[in-house]
């Protein structure tokens, strides 16, 4: 699958990657297409005549919010599948157009490296676990507009696990030993904290439970540091109200805080220094405050605690004792923070917390490997319909290979209305709440409900209903139900099918 590349389309940063052989080596390794050695920020600015994407757009930011900031859109993927328009100062864009600009920039940048056979036109793209079928469809459309055919979607945490497995010297043996072992992916990035509990079942790596929050992303830490710095500056008698700062000063303070946050990971204290903070001359116009790591950690303690509690809650909700966890794969820019490291070390043993080489790139590496190994997606849980209280009929079985770009998987079923007396046939589509727990008595999570008018005078089990289920390339199940008797039809979409990656079926070399 050398012609398929990967895009880690992250909330904060995006990375294009492709597996290849380093010069003079027989082994394959993921190549990352970076700018100045760093990922491309997922930021687009429309202040000029042409959209500016990446670091140049980020440099224009004076605020750490995600979303729309003036003419700048930060993390545009969060708009997919939701609102129709993004209102910028002086113009309106659709989320698809904004995402198209980011993806197009990533593709052009990768092509500019030169030498590749690859036209960077077929991609595996990472998505959050929470991105539903509608958002996936819009992402596919944006990619198409950028000249990229999405070959397959893959969930970010599964990509992270695969990336980690592929870093291991004997990864196939490691995979074989993972059956039924829970793994948590702890992805604490600049914008969000995403937690996903996964498990390998019959060679398919699938998520069991996921959780996350936007409240404790790395940006929130930067804001706290900024508050701390400005408060300490104010304590010197200066007026450093944020809103009074010049736009240039705001940008420089943000940069200084982000920089200081990193410095405080390796040193006990650092000085935050920004000159010409305000227009007025004098000592107060210069930010010069010293902040120790302990002060900073005290300032963000609640954020760290909240993030770690999210992890505790996830494990508790899943009924998993931290001691039986196989691995906690910690990725994202924030996991290098000593307070977070300590929090994880307090919960897990050294074996459970494997050292990750380049954790910020792990998802991109995993996606590149998934593309290279031609790893397919499989349905993690059966798609069922309730036929009687606590009785379920499987429409699409667990493990079904899911369609890729340009294909679909239609299925047809005939069913009979059991009780037409109220004039409606009711269909409740669901899946087992936990993978592998699929007995009649096990808990189910509903997908969708569909109702179709039927003849109330007809006797039970007379009226035949044709049920069509078509899982398309966006992994959206489109269900249509038709009654030949009444000639009526109803349709319902199931956008949140749960799927895993077929790790055992991958072509590893």
């Amino acid at each position: 699958m050398n012609d398929v590349f990967a895009i880690d389309f992250g909330t904060t940063n995006s990375i294009v990657s492709l597996v290849g052989r380093p010069t003079g080596s027989d082994d394959y390794l993921p190549r990352l297409y970076l700018q100045n050695g760093k990922p491309h920020p997922s930021v687009v600015s429309y202040s000029g005549s042409k959209p500016v994407v990446g670091q140049d757009a980020l440099d224009q930011l004076r605020d750490l919010r995600l979303g729309v900031i003036g003419d700048i859109v930060r993390s545009p993927k969060m708009f997919l599948g939701g609102q129709q328009s993004i209102y910028l100062s002086g113009m309106t864009k659709t989320p698809v157009e904004v995402v198209r600009d980011v993806l197009s920039f990533l593709r052009v940048d990768a092509l500019s490296y030169g030498g590749e056979d690859n036209s960077f036109s077929r991609a595996i793209i990472t998505i959050p676990v929470t991105m539903d079928g509608r958002a996936r469809a819009e992402l596919r459309e944006a990619a198409r507009m950028a000249g990229i055919t999405i070959h397959q979607f893959v969930h970010e945490p599964l990509s992270a696990i695969y990336g980690y497995l592929r870093q291991l010297p004997n990864y196939q043996k490691a995979m074989a030993n993972l059956d039924r072992s829970p793994i948590v992916v702890f992805d604490w990035g600049g914008g969000t904290l995403d937690l996903t509990l996964c498990e390998m079942q019959d060679g398919v790596l699938t998520q069991i439970l996921n959780s996350g929050t936007k409240d404790v992303g790395g940006d929130a830490f930067d804001k706290r540091l900024r508050q701390l710095a400005l408060r300490k500056h104010s304590e010197t008698g200066a007026n450093a109200d944020w809103v009074l700062l010049t736009p240039s000063s705001q940008a420089r303070v943000l940069q200084e805080c982000a920089d200081a946050k990193i410095r405080l990971s390796s040193r006990e204290a650092t000085t935050l220094f920004v000159d010409d903070l305000v227009d007025s001359a004098g000592n107060h116009s210069t930010l010069d405050v010293r902040i120790s790591r302990s002060e900073y950690e005290a300032q963000v303690q609640d954020l760290v605690t909240a993030g770690l509690h999210t992890l505790d809650n996830l494990l508790e909700q899943a009924g998993i004792n931290p001691g039986i966890l196989q691995w906690c794969i910690a990725t994202g820019g924030m996991v290098g923070m000593p307070a977070i490291q300590r929090g994880l070390q307090n919960r897990f043993s050294v074996d459970q917390l494997p050292p990750i080489e380049k954790p910020a790139d792990l998802i991109a590496q995993g996606a590149a490997w998934i593309a290279h190994d031609d790893v397919m997606l499989r349905l993690a849980k059966p798609l069922e319909v309730v036929v009687a209280p606590r009785y379920y009929a499987t429409l699409i079985p667990k493990g079904e290979i899911l369609p890729r770009g340009g294909s679909s998987n239609p299925r047809h079923f005939d069913m009979y209305c059991v009780d037409p007396s109220d004039g409606f046939a009711k269909f409740q589509f669901c899946r087992p709440t936990r993978p592998g727990r699929e007995q009649a008595g096990d808990a189910r999570t509903p997908y969708a409900i569909a109702t179709l008018p039927v003849d109330p005078k007809a006797r039970p089990l007379l009226e035949r209903l044709h049920v069509n289920v078509d899982i398309n390339e966006n992994l959206l199940a489109k269900v249509s139900i038709y009654s030949k008797r009444s000639k009526l039809c109803c349709k319902v979409d199931i956008p949140d099918l749960e799927f895993g990656i077929d790790v055992a079926g991958g072509r590893g070399d």
Binding site: T23, L34, N36, D117, T270, T271, F273, D275
Partner: protein, 316 residues
């Protein structure tokens, strides 16, 4: 009856002749022919002739001997030939199937012969009938009662009517022609044809030899072709393998180039990234801090120390 050998020019002993047909034991053919060789014309009484004819007519084997003798030996010995014709006429009279012409108008013979044949049609062919027919035709020809064309026509029609075998017909026709001096040209033609046939036969044999040789050569070529086909397949497989290897090497070369370019670009990007942010920014901040009033030396020290540490790490 004891045979008595005669000297040349003497009367032939007819007993020897009779015994050839009806004697017990019969006179051997060679002895009969020797007795008639160079002997004077032999006359036979009508009574003795009729007795012998009756005996031959009753005995199919004797009729066969008569027909054979006329066809094979009668032509070379005029004495024997005349005696055989006289005997044949007596036999025909004994059968009574066709009456022999008494006047100069001999056309009645052919008419009667055809009528007899017509009556016989659709009946199974017998040796007796065949011999009787040949005897009739031969006598007719020698007496001039039928022409050679008529005789041939009668014989051929017999094929259809009574089912004589082609071999019998051919044999008889040849005999008919040989008794007619006017058919000598046919004999010459036949001889030519025979010579041509022999030549053709030789050609055929030569061709058969050649065909056999060619077949052997063909088999040899076929084996060679199979061998060459196998070689071609091998070469094609090797060519395909070589082509795949070339493709693979080209792919590896492109991959190596891509890898090299990627590593070069990555290296440049990392170096540029490190120098521009944070090192350049730290140095700039350090300068700014030193130039600020009052100078912030501690800030400059810290940033420069960070820059030094980072450069050291990169150098390692």
């Amino acid at each position: 009856m004891a045979a008595k050998s005669q000297a040349s020019g003497e009367q032939t002993d007819l007993t020897l002749f009779e015994d050839y047909f009806i004697g017990k034991p019969p006179t051997p053919r060679t002895k009969l022919l020797k007795a008639f060789d160079g002997a004077a014309t032999t006359s036979i009484s009508e009574e003795r002739l009729n007795q012998l004819a009756n005996a031959i007519a009753r005995k199919p084997g004797s009729l066969t001997k008569l027909v054979t003798l006329i066809q094979e030996d009668g032509t070379t010995n005029p004495n024997l030939h005349n005696l055989l014709l006289t005997l044949s006429e007596a036999v025909i009279r004994t059968y009574g199937s066709v009456s022999l012409p008494q006047s100069a108008n001999a056309s009645t013979f052919a008419v009667e012969l055809r009528e007899w044949l017509h009556r016989r049609s659709k009946k199974p062919m017998t040796k007796q009938f065949s011999n009787e027919l040949i005897l009739l035709v031969l006598v007719g020809l020698h007496k001039g009662w039928v022409s050679s064309d008529e005789a041939a026509d009668i014989m051929l029609s017999t094929t259809k009517d009574v089912g004589m075998s082609p071999l019998q017909i051919t044999h008889s026709l040849l005999q008919l022609w040989s008794t007619d001096p006017s058919q000598q040209i046919l004999f010459a033609q036949l001889a030519t044809l025979r010579a041509s046939a022999d030549a053709l036969q030789e050609n055929i044999e030569a061709l058969e030899v050649r065909i056999a040789r060619l077949a052997a050569a063909r088999n040899e070529y076929r084996l060679k072709v199979e061998e060459l086909t196998s070689d071609i397949r091998d070469y094609e497989a090797r060519e395909k393998e070589a082509s795949e290897r070339i493709d693979q090497l080209q792919h590896e070369a492109r991959e190596s180039r891509a890898s090299y370019l990627h590593e070069l670009r990555t290296s440049k990007e990392q170096t540029r990234g490190m120098l521009s942010d944070p090192i350049l920014r730290w140095i700039t901040t350090s300068l700014t801090a030193i130039r600020t009033s009052p100078p912030r030396i501690h800030v400059a020290e810290e940033r420069l120390q960070d820059a030094v540490d980072m450069i050291k790490r990169e150098l390692e």
